[in-house]
């Protein structure tokens, strides 16, 4: 008779744990929720709303801030710029990183060992951006590329390349070697085995990796603010610029913060599986 009692005890503890977990999740979601709540308020309601700022309960929500902000040419241009830069950087990083990942996963490099090549690629991930921002600025200025999409695409592709290498290297290692070997026996070249067999099998990971590095580029601020001034400003630079000229207008800030935060956060949900592996440089598979 001790067994069921113990089990009941365990389920009570699990129930409490579930409750605690829900509370924890609320704490971590609160700031994003707060930005959303701010975005629905009249300027007058900004500092007077009580409690958790629940729409309809604590204040009458309005879409006025969204209508005012989302349609402005500056907002639309920064959204377009961010999309162009992040897509460009993701495409370029995949183009460069996928064959390199295949090379270290499938071939043997004797003089520079495979693992040293991998480490060399990965080590850039932890380099502080301020270490390269001055030379990048000077080079882009010399090439006349300041304030262009191209400059930001080139820089961001460099930053996200390690993610592409680390995630796809593991993906290629996990693919069954037999399929590619069979193709080689049938007379396919290594390039053919890569292009027609390994790449299609890795396509879902390729897409997820592309999304993750899109999100990283979307969030990048330091280089974006250093290299753009008017035409190529991305969403974070636009937000910072609006604050510079008009101060933090809380009601608009809610809208702007949401337009910045929502796309990368949705991507994170889509590509969850690869996040731990990517962020730990492959140290933890997750």
């Amino acid at each position: 008779m001790a067994e069921p009692a113990a089990r009941r005890g365990a389920s009570l503890a699990d129930g409490l744990a579930s409750l605690a977990a829900v509370l924890v999740a609320f704490v971590f979601l609160f700031p994003i929720y707060w930005a959303f709540s701010q975005s629905l308020r009249n300027p007058l309601d900004t500092f007077t709303v009580a409690g958790f700022g629940i729409p309809w309960v604590n204040f009458t929500p309005t879409l006025a801030n969204w209508i005012d902000q989302v349609g402005t040419p500056e907002t639309l241009r920064s959204l377009a710029n961010s999309t162009i830069v992040a897509s460009g950087a993701a495409a370029l990083a995949l183009l460069l990183g996928t064959p390199a990942a295949y090379a270290v996963a499938r071939f043997r490099f004797a003089r520079w060992k495979n693992r040293d090549i991998t480490i060399w690629f990965l080590s850039q991930r932890v380099l502080p951006p301020v270490a390269t921002v001055v030379p990048f600025y000077l080079v882009m200025r010399a090439l006349g590329l300041l304030d262009t999409h191209l400059a930001l695409i080139l820089v961001n592709a460099t930053f996200v390349l390690p993610f592409v290498v680390v995630i796809l290297r593991q993906t290629f290692l996990d693919l069954p070697l037999e399929l590619e070997e069979a193709a080689l026996v049938d007379g396919a070249s290594h390039w053919g085995a890569f292009w027609r067999i390994a790449l299609p099998l890795a396509a879902p990971t390729l897409a997820a990796t592309g999304l993750i590095v899109f999100a990283f580029t979307w969030n990048e601020f330091l280089f974006a603010v250093a290299l753009s001034s008017r035409n190529a400003i991305t969403v974070p630079v636009h937000i910072a610029g609006a604050v510079d000229t008009r101060g933090v207008q809380f009601w608009f800030m809610g809208v702007r913060a949401m337009t910045a935060i929502v796309p990368p956060v949705l991507i994170a949900l889509l590509a969850q599986r690869y996040i731990v592996r990517g962020l730990t440089l492959g140290a933890v598979k997750g």
Binding site: V24, P31, L95, R108, Q124, L127, P128, P135, T158, G282
Partner: protein, 314 residues
């Protein structure tokens, strides 16, 4: 078994050349600049230029091209070799010492809290929890929230008159000490989920037999935690610690948005000082020397990381 065809170099070459051009070259250029005093001056020149008509032909006046006075602004960059002076200045600069102190205090406040909280939450989520995958997914969101936007959102949350935390009466952003704590709190909000995810992944890889065996040996929950789980997870803690250290040294966006480095310079981390020195005051040589100071520290951290992880990249 691995292949050795010559084509392997073609697969690898684009990425290698890219890294040489876009990482190794800028780092080298930066090191070069660190030995120079780089000064940018705007020179104003007055010159006479011919006046052009609509088709771009010079207008004539009495048979001579018509001239007008034009003021040209030219940015002139002068570089003077000064040897190790930038590095000497770095060691003696009180602003640098201040930024180093801010960065160190921030690291000490944020990183242990992130790992400790992450571990506690991982233990919690390792139980049978209703809707675990949904709650786990919700915990990922802060990691991917745009840091600059997060900084502004927390500016509104820490707002001392009418913000949601105003009832505490704490001078979140106006007091220099609290402002640094607030910056650390935002970092803890954003990065505890990362520590949590990684530690949870490691916890879930612990085989059930191990818990059983400990139970049979009569181990209490506390023994299980301190004598089994913590030693087993130590390698994971070290990995998380090294990654968080390397990333936290880059701190920039959050204080940029939330405090602007202030009040005064109370929340100006090293990265922000180096950025301002280079791209606001255009003291490019000195900024490069600063960057190398940070790089030296980061190199130590990554070397430790990769020494530990070497085997897994074989």
């Amino acid at each position: 078994m691995r292949w050795t065809g010559r084509i392997r170099f073609l697969f690898l070459a684009p990425a290698v050349l890219w890294v040489l051009a876009f990482t190794v070259f800028p780092l080298g250029y930066s090191l070069y600049l660190a030995f120079f005093k780089v000064e940018q001056k705007v020179e104003i020149k007055r010159v006479q230029q011919p006046v052009l008509d609509d088709q771009g032909r010079p207008l004539l006046e009495d048979g001579q091209p018509k001239l007008r006075n034009v003021v040209l602004r030219e940015t002139v960059t002068t570089t003077t070799f000064i040897g190790l002076d930038n590095f000497r200045r770095l060691l003696a600069d009180p602003q640098v010492a201040d930024a180093v102190r801010v960065t160190l205090v921030f690291l000490l406040l944020a990183v242990p809290a992130e790992i400790g909280l992450g571990f506690l939450l991982a233990l919690l989520f390792n139980r049978r929890i209703m809707g675990r995958s949904v709650l786990r997914a919700a915990m990922i969101l802060p990691i991917f929230a745009t840091p600059l936007a997060v900084g502004y959102v927390f500016f509104t949350i820490f707002y001392e008159v009418g913000g949601p935390l105003a009832w505490t009466g704490i001078p979140w952003l106006s007091n220099p000490t609290w402002a640094l704590v607030s910056v650390a709190l935002v970092d803890i909000w954003q990065w505890t989920p990362f520590c949590f995810l990684v530690i949870l992944a490691a916890l879930q890889a612990v085989p059930d037999d191990l818990y059983e065996a400990a139970r049979i040996d009569g181990a209490s929950n506390w023994d299980l935690l301190t004598k089994v789980l913590v030693p087993l997870l130590t390698p994971t803690f070290v990995i998380v610690l090294l990654i968080r250290l390397a990333e936290a040294l880059k701190l920039f966006d959050i204080p940029f948005a939330m405090t602007g480095g202030g009040p005064g310079t109370a929340t100006q981390p090293y990265s922000m000082l180096a950025f301002r020195t280079g791209l606001r005051f255009f003291d490019l040589g000195y900024a490069s020397a600063m960057a190398y100071g940070l790089l030296a520290v980061v190199m130590v951290v990554i070397t430790l990381f990769f020494r530990r992880m070497r085997e897994s990249y074989g």
